[in-house]
Amino acid sequence: MRRLRALWARVLGLFDRDRREREFAEELESHLEMHVQDNVRAGMTPEEARRAALMKLGGVEQTREFYRDRRGLPMVDMLMQDVRLGLRMMRRSPGFTAVVLLVLALGVGANAVMFSVVNTLLLRPLPYPRASELQLVQTASEDGAPAATAPPDFYEYRARNRSLRSLSSFYLRPFDLTGGDEPERIPILIVSSEFLGTLGVAPAMGRDMGPADERWGDHRVVLLTEGFWRRRFGGDPAVRGRRITLNAEPYTVIGVLPRGFSFVGLQAQAIVPMSFAPGDNLNSHNNYFLTMVGRLASGTPAATARADLNRISDAIIAEHPENRGTHIDVRSLQAAMVEDVKPALLVLFGAVGFVLLIACANLANLLLARAAARRREIALRIAIGASRRRILAQLLTESVLLAACGSALALVLARVAVGTLNSLSRSVLPRTEDVRVDGAVLAYTAVVAVLTGLVFGLVPALRSVDVDLGDALKEGTRAGRDARGHRARATLVATEIALALVLLIGAGLMMKSLGALARIDAGFDARRVLTVQLSVPRKKYVDEDLERRFRPEAYARSARFFGDVIEQLRTVPGVTTVGAVSGLPLMGEIWGKNATLYDRPLPSTLRDLPIIQYRVVDGDYFQALGIPIVSGRAFTPADSRPRANVAIISREMARRHWKGGDPLGKVISVNPPLQLVPRGTVPADYKPDLLTVIGVAGDVRYGALSKLPTPVVYAPYAQGSEGTTTMYFVVRAEQDPAALVPALRARVRQVDPDIPVSNVQTMEARVAASVAQPRLQTAVLGTFAALALLLAAVGIYGVMSYAARQRTREIGIRMALGAGGRAILTLLLGKGVAMVAAGVAAGLLGAIALTRALRTLLYGVSASDPLVFAAVTAVLAAVALLAALVPARRATRLDPVHALREE
């Protein structure tokens, strides 16, 4: 009770300090006067009396200090006092304060931005309830590469697993939306009926889909995303039950998804149930296109689910050998979503930490210089009784206060930067729309602020209180001439140089890698080429009955449409060549098939067949993209007919399978030989098409710029029984191809007004987009490195000019004694050179150790590329020496008379 009462009294003691201070001063004064009077009465002279009274009291200042400690809570009290003092110091030297705050705002701000990205992508859970239970379930091939899953297999996993609360699957397809003002092509997610339930999401309006919606015939229902509902249906509250036409079939709207719903960054506008017509070839064991997402039963580890699903997988393999060599991989959905960007993010997060460290070193230097100037003040305070710990605490409070103010500014910067970053990285990062400056970022920044303040304040503060009172007071206003001060500052600058060098080398490697990417010959000529995507509805353009019987005539109508479009586009003024392909370069390896080479013994299992990329082409595809035909001939219009049975292979295919021999005239197929085709999946009279190789085309990078060309087989669109309803048109123009877009649209409308033209992009834009991620990474890392270089240069400049100023008198004497400018320059520069050399040496070692982390991000350049190391070191050394030279040169132009009069 008494304790509590005392505590409360002490809390009150924190306030109204001035009045309490005055009151105590008065009490002490009255005490002293009474004592003096008593002493005088006892026979002392007034001076003696006062001195005796003071001695008996034990010092007014000490008594006050003790009293103060008891009056309030010394910790809080001290802190508040120090904060006030700190604010006063900040106001008193606005230039210093401005520099410190700017450096901090940049350093901490960059950290806050990177943290908000890392927090959103790597730390914050996905926006679903109990998101950690969600797992990406993928069929993986032997080498671990994830692949898709076939529908019948998914049904097995869904029905037979015992470890998941629910398992769902999905795939994304573009649908043509017609019947409105403008035909439109929208991406739609086709999902098994428990999809939303698995995620734990309920429709905002209407009903979720149920198992009944998967039944063929009842499957034409659709759930709209909130954005699509607003855009296309004006947010109609009575949209439920409305009919919309997708791929020429009527679908009933059953609900609207909640606002902000998104799934693994897919830009789907709606979801529809997954359903297959009886006998649909898609629903077979060798059509792999599904991805599965599952929710673990609560408390079940992913490993249990993996074992459980692989048990089912083994059972399926026993019945369906074509699955051999695959297994099921279960990974956290969140981890799977970010695994592409995670290494880059961590590298950048580390880099930004380096920037902050450099900023800290710089600030520590500034404070060291200031500490030297404040030596006398501090010595004085120690002399009149302040404890060293007390002063240490005060100095640290000052630096933390600076850090706190700088961090507040940093948060303002971060808010702006996050907005910019979001718009820059939309195509590169998943979930960027979620990146924001939130509570976690605030907390992180607060922690960083305090740590930063302590880090850059500790060394200067420790050195400040480590003074020899006699010396410091005697010296007058002269700041310390001690070598230790210089050594501390030089060490800090060397550290800055080392850190900056690591960052610069990292950035240099990334730039060289980006340059290597840009110089890659992807195998085609992107200049003046426009690409557009055209997709035809199956209902109208594909004879599904013939298709099931593997007749090439199944695609006769779509072949005619694509052929007509090519004819039309050719006549547009300004167009030189037109072709079409089922998948453009750099779009990804999207149509892999097993090839059979009939000029050699046939393998006994499917797994031994070589895998190739299959592309069907139309018009003058090779010519339009500038892909050379290196031997044989290109396709002619005569090849565009069913059963023309010709093929062109890529040079890589020739190299890999004919090893310098001549592939022309050889017979191949893009299907397994008949004896390896699983029975029941093909009609009784099925025979694989046998194609004759008529030409070899130059290699083209279809996967990505950084991916080596793989074997490709090209075939004319019209000849095969396996067609596609989506083709990408390649239009080479005489001049700027973008100007042709309206004319091209008009011509397509002439052929069929219901077919939307989508994905209009120049080939150059596609190439640029494919390097958007490395470009962004390089830009961000480059920015950090530039910042680091700037900070390091400022640091060197500061230390050098400080050292020169300190030695003004010495320089004056030397000059008076006849030393020339050159000698002075050498004298001053010597220290700078040593500093830079030490920093560079440490930085090189650091870079060798750390650039290894970049390895996965680099293309065509080793993580220890000597050229980059050398060039970057040279640049840094040049900048560093320049920063050292400027103040040193200024010192040589001193007037000796002036210099000697100094101090």
Binding site: R5, A9, E27, S30, M34, K56, F66
Partner: protein, 111 residues
């Protein structure tokens, strides 16, 4: 003969006891009184008295108000509160016990 330093913790009791016997008194008076009572055996830094007074006041054992001294000078007077009176009795008892016990240890052993 050297003068003793004040044992920690005893100063508060001395202050309380002084106020109990002398009635309201200012800081200087309390300090002088303690020295006199100790028969000049104790040496205290008068400065240490004030934090002790503040502590007792914060704990509610004493209260203070400004008054006028014998010599017509403004001074802060401290007086015992009711809680202080209770405390002084309790602590005095405790100290007597402690002293008795210690005395037994220190007394020459009877064989």
């Amino acid at each position: 003969m050297t003068r003793l330093e004040v044992q920690p913790g005893t100063l508060a009791l001395m202050v309380l006891k002084t106020l109990q016997t002398m009635g309201p008194l200012h800081g200087y008076g309390i300090a002088r009184r303690i020295e006199q009572t100790s028969g000049e055996l104790l040496s205290i830094n008068y400065g240490t008295l004030y934090p002790a007074l503040l502590k007792l006041e914060q704990e509610g054992s004493i209260a203070s108000e400004w008054g006028v001294s014998d010599h017509n000078r403004r001074a802060k007077y401290y007086r015992l509160t009711r809680a202080g009176r209770r405390q002084v009795e309790k602590e005095a008892r405790d100290w007597e016990q402690t002293a008795t016990i210690l005395a037994r240890f220190l007394a020459p052993k009877e064989s």
